[in-house]
């Protein structure tokens, strides 16, 4: 489905370049309907790169398309790992931590502002680099060392999850007969038990099941 989005996004440029020749316009549009699957955020960089190549002529556009299939796979992996496995869990974990620390809309505002600030900056930068420097966008993304940043984010997530477990005691233990310490130990014990249960290969755990297309 992403290829249709790619064709839709690049269509204004194709129209500008080949608008006078409808046959060629149709042909070039169909070229962009080939399979394209990448991370939606870093796809902006590939789109910029394709715009850069296509503006230099049909032959360069074809080269760009053949390169984009490798780029989409590469940035699909890097982007999925950075955004879905790093930034998203970290932002959510921090937002939940903020809620248990101070219940209210602060958590929601943090989630929206922080995540959007990061991904919009990245989207905008990679697109502009792609448009102006073509393949130079690779160097730019590489210079950010996303896998390293992702590792750091994973540590932030871990710490915020531990703090969340601690803050939950105050939040849920109001008027409880259980002592705060006992309740905290119960929470940690539950986490350890469920983690062990999941790691040992349970099949029916509802949060693990996923559908395949």
């Amino acid at each position: 489905m992403q290829c249709l989005g790619l064709a839709y996004a690049i269509y204004p440029l194709l129209k500008k370049l080949y608008g006078k020749n409808p046959l060629q316009l149709t042909h070039r549009t169909r070229c962009y309907l080939n399979c394209f699957n990448s991370n939606p955020y870093l796809a902006a960089g590939i789109l910029g790169f394709l715009v850069h190549m296509e503006s230099q002529g049909e032959a360069m556009g074809d080269q760009g398309l053949s390169l984009s299939s490798s780029l989409s796979a590469l940035y699909g992996a890097v982007g999925d790992n950075f955004f879905w496995n790093g930034l998203k869990p970290m932002t959510s974990a921090l937002a939940v931590m903020i809620f248990f620390w101070s219940p209210g809309l602060k958590a929601l505002l943090f989630l929206l502002l922080f995540y959007n600030l990061v991904h919009i900056c990245i989207r905008y930068t990679v697109y502009l680099y792609g448009v102006h420097r073509g393949i130079g966008v690779l160097e730019k993304i590489d210079s950010w060392r996303l896998p390293l940043v992702r590792d750091i984010m994973e540590y932030v997530t871990t710490v915020s999850l531990a703090v969340t477990a601690f803050l939950m005691v105050d939040y849920f233990n109001v008027k409880s007969r259980l002592g705060a310490g006992l309740f905290y130990l119960l929470i940690l014990l539950l986490i350890a038990g469920l983690w062990w249960y999941k790691k040992t290969g349970c099949k029916g755990f509802f949060i693990k099941k996923s559908e395949l297309i």
Partner: protein, 240 residues
């Protein structure tokens, strides 16, 4: 005393039709975290008249399904639809006099009545994606048979936007179904909860963040992270 029929229909329609825009943010449009349960449930709660219970339900669901990654061809559980339905149902029921001061219990019951739909949300998402994949063929066909001189490429390429409609329609119908079922089942569950156990039921909500934390920890790549978690958790014991 329960919600009257017209209120149920009005609130369900409002939450499903407006809330489905949040569901679009998940894959089809923007991806600006409007689809996170924290946001979606709060929006649904606000639409049904009580954003506070929506926010509480959103926080409980936020971490629950986060360990499922939309990587490759995998379709994770659509927690946005669950959050919209649960947030809407919770807020709608919270307006009834018998549930005043029972926010947490109501949130727990609504979540319990909504979560069994998680498999259904994956089916809906899968169905829409398969339907949208067929749009590419439709565009190809339109480009091949279209009148190329009158800008028919633009019309063909607009099939792309039909994909949004598929996502929106499926989300609206799914949320309406789930919210209606929750509005019917949750009062029944609340009726069945004995009075003596009611004061502690609200505290059972902590199980949802615990499941989320466990899921995220299981997904961590390095064993060192578990040591960090255990270290921080043990260190915090001194502050109790």
């Amino acid at each position: 005393m329960g919600l009257d029929f017209s209120s149920i229909i009005w609130l369900t329609a409002k939450v499903s039709l407006i809330g489905a825009f949040c569901a679009l943010d998940r894959t089809a449009f923007l991806q600006m975290m409007l689809s996170r349960p924290l946001v979606a449930a709060t929006v649904a709660g606000a639409l049904a008249g009580n954003w506070e219970i929506g926010l509480l339900i959103g926080v409980m669901l936020e971490l629950c399904f986060l360990s499922e990654m939309p990587v490759g061809t995998t379709i994770p559980t659509d927690d946005t639809l669950l959050a919209l339905a649960a947030g809407g149902a919770g807020a709608a029921l919270s307006g009834l006099p018998q549930y005043v001061n029972q926010t947490s219990t109501l949130a727990l019951v609504v979540l319990v009545s909504t979560l069994p739909w998680s498999a259904f949300t994956r089916k809906v998402d899968g169905w829409v994606r398969v339907r949208n994949a067929q749009l590419i063929d439709e565009v190809e066909t339109a480009l091949l048979i279209g009148h190329r001189l009158d800008g028919s490429e633009r019309v063909a390429i607009n099939f792309h936007l039909h994909g949004l409609l598929n996502f929106y329609g499926a989300a609206a119908v799914a949320v309406a179904l789930m919210m209606l079922s929750s509005l019917l089942v949750a009062p029944l569950l609340l009726f069945l909860v004995p009075d003596w156990i009611r004061p502690v039921t609200d505290r059972l909500l902590f199980i949802f963040p615990v499941i989320g934390i466990t899921g995220l920890l299981s997904n961590m790549n390095h064993k060192r992270q578990l040591a960090v978690f255990a270290g921080v958790a043990a260190g915090l014991l001194f502050f109790i």
